[in-house]
């Protein structure tokens, strides 16, 4: 079995199962926990609307808060956007999605998808550097923070190497493709255990905060 066959076969299958089971386990562990019921009289009653509003509005903090976090704020959204553009709309990725999901979608020109990936990679490297050097970030960072960012960088980096035919250690193209898929497997395996879970938890957390603040009559 070649590395590519291993990556596409048992490694991907195992990673997928760990991802799916781990995500369900963690979500269930959080949401099935005892929840205190607030019996106070709400100042405003549209708690669901307040929660939904917070899901959107938390992306747009008021100016007096925003002005101190412009780089973090913009870079955070920018790398997510560019990463997903390169993941979902890069033509060479589509056969995989078609095979896996049974359907596909239009892609972007390679130049745009690659540029998106390059932007994502550059921002992630900058964020990694900031995390290692800015005192606030260093202090609150754990292994999870560094590992998560490295595991997102690796598929991007190996993807670029593959496209540019940069084959380290005399590696064959197919082997590098296998490594690229293995980095994605590693990302999927780590996903349920670390901070990447915010993909599933961010909206519930925002909703919860929005409903709480709505109850108090405060814009979230």
């Amino acid at each position: 079995m070649t590395i590519l066959e291993f990556a596409r076969g048992p490694a991907f299958q195992a990673a997928l199962w760990i991802f799916a089971f781990g995500v369900c386990w963690r979500l269930a562990g959080v949401f099935l926990m005892y929840r205190r019921f607030d019996r106070s009289k709400p100042r405003r009653h549209h708690l669901v609307a307040g929660g939904l509003r917070a899901i959107v509005m938390r992306s747009l903090p008021p100016h007096e808060l925003e002005k101190r976090i412009v780089f973090q704020h913009v870079s955070g959204y920018a790398w997510h956007l560019t990463f997903f553009i390169s993941l979902l709309f890069f033509a060479p990725h589509l056969p995989f999605f078609k095979q896996f999901l049974g359907f596909g979608w239009p892609t972007l020109p390679n130049t745009i998808a690659l540029l998106s990936g390059a932007i994502a990679l550059a921002i992630l490297l900058a964020l990694l550097w900031r995390r290692a050097t800015v005192p606030v970030l260093r202090q609150i960072s754990s292994l999870d923070d560094y590992l998560s960012i490295v595991l997102v960088i690796l598929p991007l980096a190996t993807g670029f190497m593959q496209y540019a035919r940069v084959l380290p250690f005399g590696m064959r193209y197919e082997t590098l493709l296998g490594v690229h898929i293995l980095t994605i497997c590693a990302l999927m395996v780590w996903f349920p255990f670390g901070k990447l879970m915010h993909l599933f938890l961010a909206f519930p957390a925002r909703f919860q905060a929005g409903a709480l603040l709505e109850r108090k009559g405060v814009e979230a």
């Binding site: 009289k41 405003r44 879970m197 905060a209 108090k216």
Partner: protein, 439 residues
């Protein structure tokens, strides 16, 4: 009855002395640690779990915190202040606890001792970080859990421990108890302001505060004048005073007693003084403590007066000219309570020109002394660094007067102003309304 420098100074002097009331803990270290852990585990629920699991460690919360902004010290990052709580969650109840236990160390008493200045001196539970977090994480309620856990481990700062002990053993707060309330009522009656004291039943039950009694009696005088002008059936309770939030069991005991008193008086409204910390405790937390919705409304006096003015039931005349004013939103009324509109309605009715600070309303900066911080002597320098931010924002408005609706904020402003020789007048909205009731 004015807030003279003498009585303000007396109050300031009384605060550090509180620290001498209590001695060292008589419990073993293991007992103290177990008590802290029990508080954390007892209070953590699905909402905290969602927040702790979602944190990205982005550090943006630091840029909302006046203590971090004022010092640039990374240890004041809000989410860092709940690190021991996060550890307990991750190791003991989080869904990945079997894995986390391998990499997350357990909490220790010395760690909790290290965290004491972070959660008491360097946090006023103002909740500004709660607005900044891109994930919506509400950090300040978790700081509250940290504080209660430390209190259970006998790690309250000495001044707060002294105040809690005074409240528990003497029933007074900062030397203000039943005798002082009775004396205040007598003094007001002599001055021609009727104070219906301890009526059997009333529509409105009014509490006063230790800070009012000790330093700002005019605030209560104004409250009495306003309620009399509205011809309400109200009463002042001589056996109840606003509460300190030090130690959850004490707070709960006090809340329960106040709720029982209001119910016994068949009152429809409980009116709180110009006091920040009592508002969220009685307006929002009390229903949870007693296990059912309150059968009466809880309003702060500024909220009540603003509503009466907006409903045209309370008429005021133009206040004497004082140039532009700015309004300091007390965190516990504003960000924690949604009281933004009502105080501003009162300012407008008084014909004053309001110049808002850049950070006002929900993003208002704390005065630096909330959450009991103003009582902690060793926190003075830190408090002042936070207050400098406030001074800059006020200065930028060009206003000569700061109005507020919380006498703890007012006390902190006046302390900060006197330390910095800052030439701004700090006044109470309620006192202004009380002095300018229309004929």
């Amino acid at each position: 009855m004015s807030a003279t420098i003498a009585n303000l100074d007396a109050l300031r002097t009384a605060l550090p002395a509180l620290g001498q009331r209590v001695g060292r803990s008589t419990r073993t270290d293991d007992e103290r640690l177990a008590r802290a852990r029990a508080v954390m585990l007892g209070e953590l629920d699905a909402s905290h779990a969602t927040y702790l699991e979602t944190c990205l460690h982005c550090g943006m919360c630091a840029h909302a915190c006046h203590f971090y902004i004022g010092t640039n010290e990374a240890k004041y990052t809000p989410i860092y202040k709940v690190e021991p709580l996060k550890k307990v969650y991750q190791r003991e109840i989080g869904p990945m606890r079997w894995l986390r236990r391998l990499v997350v160390s357990d909490i220790s008493l010395s760690e909790l001792e290290d965290w004491q200045p972070l959660v008491y001196d360097a946090c006023t539970e103002c909740g500004r970080c709660d607005l900044m977090c891109p994930m919506g994480i509400q950090i300040s309620p978790m700081i509250g859990i940290m504080r209660r856990a430390l209190a259970a481990a006998d790690l309250l700062p000495a001044e707060l421990a002294g105040a809690a002990d005074e409240q528990k053993t003497l029933g007074s707060v900062l030397g203000a108890g039943r005798a002082e309330i009775l004396s205040l009522a007598r003094e007001l009656e002599t001055a021609g302001v009727h104070v219906p004291l301890d009526l059997a039943t009333a529509d409105v039950v009014v509490l006063t505060s230790a800070v009012d009694i000790k330093a700002y009696a005019n605030s209560f005088k104004a409250t009495a004048k306003i309620l009399n002008r509205l011809k309400l059936k109200w009463t002042l309770l001589s056996n109840s005073i606003e509460l300190l939030g030090t130690g959850e069991s004490l707070k709960e005991l006090h809340v329960r007693r106040i709720v029982e008193e209001v119910v016994r008086h068949e009152a429809k409204t409980l009116l709180l003084p110009e006091c920040g910390h009592a508002y969220p405790a009685l307006r929002f937390d009390s229903a949870h403590m007693i296990g059912e919705p309150l059968p009466f409304a809880v309003l702060s006096i500024a909220e009540f007066v603003g509503r009466e003015i907006m409903a045209d039931r309370l008429k005021v005349k133009r206040a004497p000219a004082m140039g532009p004013v700015t309004y300091h939103d007390p965190c516990k009324l504003g960000r924690h309570g949604g009281v933004f509109e009502e105080p501003r309605a009162a300012i407008k009715a008084l014909g004053l020109e309001l110049k808002e600070m850049e950070s006002h309303g929900r993003t208002n900066y704390c005065c630096g002394g909330g959450g009991g911080q103003f009582m902690i002597a060793r926190g003075a320098q830190l408090r002042h660094r936070a207050f400098e931010i406030k001074m800059r924002e006020v200065d930028d408005t060009g206003a000569g007067t700061v109005l507020t609706a919380c006498n703890s904020c007012r006390l902190n402003y006046q302390n900060g102003a006197s330390e910095s020789n800052w030439q701004k007048s700090v006044q109470s909205i309620i006192e202004l309304v009380g002095a300018n009731l229309a004929d």
